[in-house]
């Protein structure tokens, strides 16, 4: 069976869904169900007694087959991310941690140095580290060497919907990587997710594209189908490209032309 392997965990779904930016929890939960996602990201926030319904642990845990992957968003240093990871593990009971360290809220680009440092320490502590990184093949390899469970390069800036703007670099990362490559951030449409999978990504992580869709549950389903189709196409093996036309029908022996 074709499964996504992350540490000792296996997943039949290759779509990872983020839970941010949905209009409300009900729509988010419907989208999670429709997506068939088995790995779902959440963020750590202060409890606010005025917004007690914000707590997603209970509702998400009630969906069968879901593993939570907390992120460290809000952290701008390795130290803050490590602290967030320890707290998140306490809550989730899951070894997964999405290391996300972006010091600049304007462009949200991940800090490679702090991310590497946090990933190195957390991997040593036994976390399944899923670092969100720029599409940098050298950094991706270094993260593999320190024991990350995957690398998650961005397709384009978080929430930008600019798709696979970094596809050249993603191709190099995929070619070189010995651990799963998961495109995280920037995807807008299911066709882009299918494209990422055809390139050889092991999974994609989508949030804004689903949360900001006209009908989030329907879009979640569309992404699930696209990811499955892209994966199947990758496994089937795409034909070689050619610079010129190659006929699919015989060009000789046609009616009066023989």
């Amino acid at each position: 069976m074709d499964v996504l392997q992350l540490g000792s965990y296996t997943f039949s779904s290759r779509l990872i869904l983020g839970t941010g930016k949905f209009s409300n929890s009900r729509v988010m939960l419907e989208a999670v169900r429709a997506s068939g996602a088995q790995l779902v990201t959440v963020a750590l926030r202060r409890f606010n007694r005025q917004q007690a319904e914000d707590d997603l642990f209970g509702p998400l845990s009630s969906i069968e087959g879901i593993t939570l992957m907390p992120n460290t968003s809000g952290a701008s240093t390795a130290k803050e991310a490590i602290r967030a990871a320890h707290i998140a593990r306490e809550l989730s009971g899951s070894a997964f941690i999405k290391v996300e360290i972006h010091p600049n809220p304007q462009h949200l680009m991940p800090d490679p140095i702090e991310t590497f440092e946090a990933a190195r320490i957390l991997a040593k502590e036994g976390f399944l580290v899923m670092p969100y990184i720029a599409a940098d093949p050298v950094l991706a390899k270094r993260l593999e060497e320190v024991g990350c469970a995957s690398v998650m390069p961005l397709g384009s800036a978080i929430g930008s919907g600019q798709g696979l703007a970094m596809s050249e670099m993603l191709n190099i990362i995929i070619r070189e990587s010995g651990i799963p490559v998961i495109v995280d951030a920037g995807l807008r449409s299911p066709s882009e997710a299918a494209h990422a999978m055809e390139m050889g990504c092991e999974a994609v992580l989508v949030n804004s594209a689903v949360a900001a869709a006209g009908n989030p549950p329907e879009m979640a389903e569309a992404f699930a189908e696209a990811v499955a189709a892209g994966r199947k196409a990758f496994r089937a093996g795409l034909m070689q490209k050619s610079g010129s036309a190659v006929a699919t029908s015989p060009l000789t022996s046609f009616l009066g032309t023989f």
Partner: protein, 70 residues
């Protein structure tokens, strides 16, 4: 009645009856029954210790939950 103590809860002042435990605090703020991570002075207080862990004047308490995020 004895005087109240004051702790810092998620960055805000919070008065509490002396001798209050972490579980008492969770009940007061309405987060009992939810999955909440508790830190007292940066130390994680696990659920099994919360009934006995008494809060002291000036303790810095953080209550954290999982919210939506990508």
């Amino acid at each position: 009645m004895s005087q109240m103590i004051t702790i810092e809860l998620n960055g805000q002042q919070q008065p509490l009856p002396p001798g209050s435990t972490v579980n008492d605090l969770l009940a007061i703020v309405g987060s009992d029954g939810k999955s909440v991570a508790v830190l007292v002075n940066d130390r994680i207080i696990r659920p099994e210790s919360r009934a006995l862990h008494q809060l002291q004047e000036g303790n810095r308490v953080e209550l954290l939950i999982f919210a939506g995020g990508g």
